[in-house]
Subunit: 157 residues, 2 copies
DNA sequence: CTTTGCCTTTGAGCGCGCTCTAAGGCATAC
DNA sequence: GTATGCCTTAGAGCGCGCTCAAAGGCAAAG
């Protein structure tokens, strides 16, 4: 399933969830793992691919966010499933979601289909928090350049 | 200067800074301190008004974000200037700006008019970071409800 | 064989942003 | 007087999310 099909799917979903905002098509590319991804990756390769450090990958495993198999030598061996979960996690982290919430979300997934509404609610709540944050910033920015312009920046900010 | 005047000012500023986005008028009200604000407030009153704890107010003072005078008894006494600075700080914090950056911004203010461009740049950089974060979240959300819908939530997230 | 380098584990350490504690001062009520 | 309640200070503690250290295993290169 490529980015275009994903977008089509999303359009269909959006029809049922009018509160969702459109997603920039460019961004969906970030979802895709490279097509020529090896079957199994070492921790160094996984780190390289995700932009996380090996330390962080071990940490995520330790706290139960992801399961990773070992090879014959006892080394971590990341398969597609592990990789896409890690990419997913790193994306949520990058958007500012706390690890506890991610953990909760993954537990919901584990619990099965009937937790869908809770999962959607959780994500939408998070999105709302980010949007609020953005508005806070725009406000701060407005105050700032207002003050810079009006007071010349010499008055108390 | 009330919220309406502030908005007018901002419109004028926006003419010179087309990259700025419009600000929700409702939000500008948050800027305003109550009109009947007492001349000087105790730490408990200041905490109540800003939604921060007294502990946090002392902490902000300790790390040099704000200067607060004392009354005859040695108690902190917050004047308008202190209050508006604290509101400003809390707004930036709420938007996710690290304390170090806020500190830097306030130093720039202290240094005088010639630091205006740096201040604006700093704020715009922060806004860009938040916007990136928002896009990250929208992406994560898209992935999520895509997966919920397509896989029924049973597959790996 | 040793060296090199990546890997393992457990457990400790760190920077951030608070948050709380301890020990005590002031001031109003009784 | 004393009890209360809010205030002061310096400094310790905490939760989060990593980040690093120590001690050692595996394996290909020379």
């Amino acid at each position: 399933m490529n980015a275009t099909e994903l977008l089509d799917r999303r359009a269909a979903i959006a029809a049922h969830h009018p509160e969702l905002e459109p997603v920039d098509p460019d961004l969906l590319c970030l979802l895709e793992l490279p097509e020529d991804l090896p079957e199994r990756l070492s921790i160094a390769e996984a780190a390289e691919l995700t932009g996380l450090t090996a330390h962080t990958l071990r940490y995520y495993e330790r706290i139960g966010l992801v399961d990773v198999r070992r090879d014959a030598a006892g080394y971590r061996s990341y398969d597609q499933r592990a990789m896409s979960r890690i990419v997913f996690i790193s994306r949520l982290r990058a958007s500012g979601m706390p690890i506890g919430t991610i953990s909760h979300y993954l537990e919901l997934v584990l619990q099965g289909d009937h937790t869908e509404p809770q999962r959607l609610a959780l994500m939408q709540e998070h999105r709302d928090r980010i949007q609020r944050q953005l508005r806070e910033l725009q406000l701060a920015l407005a105050v700032t350049d207002y003050k810079i312009t009006v007071y010349g920046g010499t008055a108390a900010p």
